[in-house]
Symmetry: C2
Subunit: 198 residues, 2 copies
C-alpha cells in the first residue's frame, strides 16, 4: 500500500544546468534550471523548461539558441545564486566573477569555469503551462581536459556534476557507480532463457 | 580551452525511470527510459522520450497514459533488464517476479516493489526525431512509508534511486547532500548587495 504525496513534481533527481543566453543588446546571462534533460538521440537534443517571466525565456525566443554549462560541486553556491536572482536586476557574471565565453557554434555564451558545456540551437518550442519547453539540437559538447578519462570520454568522477532532489530541495553529489548499463541485466536474461542466451 | 566531444547526448546524469503501460489486450509491460524529466510545474508534468520501435510507444499512443516507477539501488539489475529486453518477446514482470499493480487514477500499471511511482495522463505528444516525447500530467505521486521522512516527504537517502551516466554508461548512486537549494547562493547575494539584502 503506497501513500499519496499528491500531484507534485516529486521525482527522484533532476540535473542542475546553467543555461547561458544573450539578450537583445548582447549582454550574457545565466540561469539555473532543474527542468531539463535529454529528449532525443537523433538528432541529439536536450530541452530546458522555463517560465515566461525569466530573462532567459525572452533571450531564447529572440536568439533561438542556448548553452548548458554544467557546474562542478565547487560551484554549487554560484549555481544556486544563478537560480535565485534575475538578470533583470543584476549582472550575474560580474557578481560571481565567472567568465562568459561566446560559443563558436551557437548564438549564446557559456561559463568558462564550468567543466562541461553543451551548445544548442532551438528546433522546437512547446507550450505546456507555466513552463515552456525549448528543445535544442546539440551542436557540440565541450569539456575541460581535466575531466576526461584516457578514452577521451567525460569522467563523471572528475567532472563532479551536482544533482537536485526536488523533494527535500537539496543539491546532492553523484555517488559511486553500481553497475554497467546494458550489461548487469543480462544475468536475469540468462536465468530466464538459458538456451537462448547461454 | 575546451575539447570537443562531438554532437552527442553526453550530459551530466539522467534519471533511471521504469515506464509502465498496458497493451491492447491489457497485458502490463515495463521499459526503462533514461530520456525523461520534469517539464512543467503547473500543471505538474513529466515526459519520457521513446523510440517508435518499442512496445511502450504503441501502448502509450493507444492508452494515453503511463506510470513511472522509480527503482531503488536493490533493483538496478531488474531496471537494466527492463531496458535491454522487449515486451514483444518476453513478459518482463513474469521473468523478474515483480508485481504489476493497476493504477486507480490512470490506465497503466506500476511496479509494486519499487518505492516511488508517478501516475500520468498524456496531454501532449511531440515528434522530435528518432524519439517521440510523451508529456504526461502527474495525477499523483505515491511512495512506500519506508521511504518517507518525518514530514511525510520523500527521503532520497531512503528511496535510494539510481541515476545514469550516459558518458561511461554506468548506473550510479545518488551521493550526499552538499547544500540547500534557494539558500546557499544567498551568501553571494549578501556579498554583492550588502545593503539590499543584509
Amino acid at each position: 500500500m503506497k501513500n499519496s504525496l499528491g500531484a507534485k513534481t516529486i521525482v527522484s533527481t533532476t540535473p542542475v544546468w546553467v543555461v547561458g543566453t544573450y539578450d537583445q543588446e548582447g549582454k550574457p546571462n545565466v540561469m539555473t534550471a532543474a527542468w531539463g534533460g535529454v529528449c532525443c538521440s537523433q538528432p541529439p537534443c536536450i530541452y530546458v523548461s522555463l517560465r515566461k517571466a525569466t530573462c532567459t525565456y525572452g533571450n531564447i525566443v529572440e536568439r533561438k539558441a542556448f548553452t548548458v554549462s554544467i557546474p562542478s560541486e565547487t560551484y554549487a553556491k554560484e549555481a544556486d545564486y544563478f537560480g535565485i536572482t534575475s538578470g533583470k536586476t543584476v549582472d550575474k557574471f560580474s557578481v560571481t566573477g565567472l567568465t562568459p565565453v561566446k560559443s563558436d557554434l551557437v548564438d549564446a555564451p557559456y561559463v568558462k569555469e564550468f567543466p562541461v558545456v553543451i551548445e544548442c540551437k532551438v528546433i522546437k518550442t512547446v507550450e505546456i503551462g507555466l513552463h515552456t519547453e525549448f528543445i535544442g539540437e546539440i551542436m557540440d559538447v565541450k569539456a575541460d581536459s581535466l575531466v576526461l578519462n584516457k578514452k577521451n570520454l567525460l569522467d563523471i568522477e572528475k567532472a563532479k556534476p551536482i544533482i537536485w532532489n526536488p523533494s527535500e530541495m537539496t543539491y546532492n553529489k553523484v555517488g559511486k557507480p553500481i553497475g554497467q548499463a546494458f550489461s548487469i541485466g543480462k544475468e536475469i536474461s540468462k536465468q530466464a532463457h538459458p538456451k537462448k542466451l547461454g
